[in-house]
Symmetry: C2
Subunit: 340 residues, 2 copies
Amino acid sequence: MEQQTMVRVAVDAMGGDNAPAVMIEGAVLAVCEDSRVHVVLVGKEESIREELEKYTYDKERITVMPAAEIITNDEAPVMAVRHKKESSLVKAMTLVKNNEADAFISAGSTGAVLVGAQLIVGRLPGVERPPLAPLIPTDTGVALLIDCGANVDARASHLVQFAKMGSVYMENVIGVKNPRVAIVNIGTEEEKGNALVKETFPLLKNCNEINFIGSIEAREIPAGAADVIVCEAFVGNVILKLYEGLATTLIAKVKRGMMSTFRSKIGALLVKPALKKTLKAMDTAEYGGAPMLGLNGLVVKTHGSSKGIEIKNSILQCIAFKEQNISEKIRTSIVVNENK
Amino acid sequence: MEQQTMVRVAVDAMGGDNAPAVMIEGAVLAVCEDSRVHVVLVGKEESIREELEKYTYDKERITVMPAAEIITNDEAPVMAVRHKKESSLVKAMTLVKNNEADAFISAGSTGAVLVGAQLIVGRLPGVERPPLAPLIPTDTGVALLIDCGANVDARASHLVQFAKMGSVYMENVIGVKNPRVAIVNIGTEEEKGNALVKETFPLLKNCNEINFIGSIEAREIPAGAADVIVCEAFVGNVILKLYEGLATTLIAKVKRGMMSTFRSKIGALLVKPALKKTLKAMDTAEYGGAPMLGLNGLVVKTHGSSKGIEIKNSILQCIAFKEQNISEKIRTSIVVNENK
C-alpha cells in the first residue's frame, strides 16, 4: 500500500481577533476532515490545551508547541519579529524554515506575517518579491488577486513574476486549466494605463509560459473575466477591501429592504434559504486565507476576524500546495524567466 | 421681482451609446422639471429635430446648434479634438469657452472629453490638473471620488488640490456641511501607504481649509465613512469600475437566488417592490454624471450607456454649480493654497 503524504501545518494559535479559540476549532475541523493533515498549534500551552479538551479528535495529529510571547497588531512588524523570538508567530515560522513544517497559518498582524515570511521563512531562489494572493469570489468561481498588499510601489519585473506564480497556483492548487492572466487597467486598449502598467504589459505579452489575455477593467473582475488578476499591491489591496466592504453594504441593504414592509417581511421568510446559499458563494471566508507565494514553504494569512471554518479551509489548502509541489514549480517557472 | 438665473447647458447630442435619442430625452426632462434650465443641443440637426418632435416642452428653452461631425470612442482623443472642429463635442465645448454656455455635458468618448476640457474649456488659474469626480452611492448618501481617471501618475500637490476642489463641490453643490476628506490607503495608520500617499498625507494634514480625517481603507467607502475620497486616478478608476461591476454581479446573484426554488419565487414577488426602492439608492445613474472640476466652466461626463434620467440629472446638477458660483470658489481655494 502506498505511504500517504503527511502535510504538516504550523498554526500561530495566538494571532487574530478570536484566538486561540477559533484557531483550535479550525485545526480540529481540519484533522477530522482530512487524514493527511498534521497540525502543530504554537502558543500559550495552557490556553491551547484548555480549548483542545472541548473536542474529540485524533490526538496524534495535533501537537502543541509552547510559545510564551504574542505579537499584536499594534506593534511595529520588523521590531516585533526581530525581538520576540519566543512569540507564537516567530516559533511557528521557524518550523517552516527548518523544514519541520510545510506550511504556516496566522490570523494575526499582516505586517508581522509579511515581515516574518521574508526574514524567517525566506524567498525561493530568483523570487524578487513574494506576493500575497487571496482568492476572491466571482460569478463563475474564484480568481486569484496577486499582489494584494505585500509590496507597494512594485516594479514591472515583480508583476511578471506575480503572473507566473499566480498561474502555477491557480493551475495546480485550484485546478484551473491554462488560467487566464490579466493585468488590472483603466481601459482595455494596449496603450492605456499608468507608467507601471504600460511597462509591464509588453513583458507579459512576451511571456510564453502564461496565458496572458491582456488588460482587465475592475468592472469585469466580479463577472469572472480572468483567473489570475495581476496588479500592484496598493491597487490589489483596494480591490480586496472594496470587495468586502461593498458586499457587506449591499447585502445589508437587501436585508433592510426586505424587512421594510409587512408584505416584504413575509416574502423574506420565503426567499431566505435560497438566498443564503447564493450569497455564501460570494463570502470570502469560504475560500480560506491568502497564500503568500514564492517562499521556502507556504505562508497563509487569514482574516483577523476568521471563524473556525476559514481556518479549517486555510489548513486544507496546504494539502494541494504540498502534494502538487508548488514551491518547486514556482522555482522552475521563475528560473526559466531569469535565463531567457 | 428678482430676475431668475438662467443656466445654459451645452449638450453633446451625438456622444454615447444611445445618442442622440437619450440626450434629447434628458434635455426635455430637465427643462420640464426646472425652469432655470436652458439647453443647447449640439449635433446633426435633422436627427435632433426628429427626436424633439416626439415631445412637448417649452421651445424657447431648448435650442439646436448644428454640428456635422462626430467624435467616436475609437478615435485617438488628442487628434480627434484637434482636427474635428465641426464635431458636436468641440462645438459644444467652444460655447463654454466663449461663455455662451455655463456647462457642457457628454456621454461620448471619455478621452475626448478630458482632452477637450483641457484644450478648449481650459483650466482655472492655479489649477494644475483638473480631476474627474463622480458621486458614488454609499449606505448613508453619496461620496465624491476624486480623481477618477483624468490624471494617472499624479503628484502629491495634485492630490491636495483635488481635496480642496472636492470639498468645495460637496459643500456647495451637494450640501454636505464641512465635508469629511479622506485619502484612500491600505491601512489607517499614518505611516502606511505607497510613496505617493506617504508624501500627500502630511500635506493634507496641514491644510486648514479642509476637514481632513486621515486615511480611509476601501472597505469603509461603501459604508459612507468619508464625503470626499481623494485618490490617484488609476486607483479611483478601479474603485468606480469595481463598484459598478460588483453591484451588478451581486444584484444578479440575489435575483437568481430568489428564482431558484418554488418557495423563493413566491417570496420574490412579495419582496420585489421594497427591494427595488432600496437598490435604486445604490444605482450610480441616480446621481447624474461625473463633473470635471477646476475648469473655466463645468464639464460633465456621463456614462456611455446613460439613460434619459441620468442625462436629466446631469443637466440639473449644473444649476447648483452655477448658482453657488463653484468655479470662483474653487479658484479662491486654490489661490489660497498657492500663496501659503
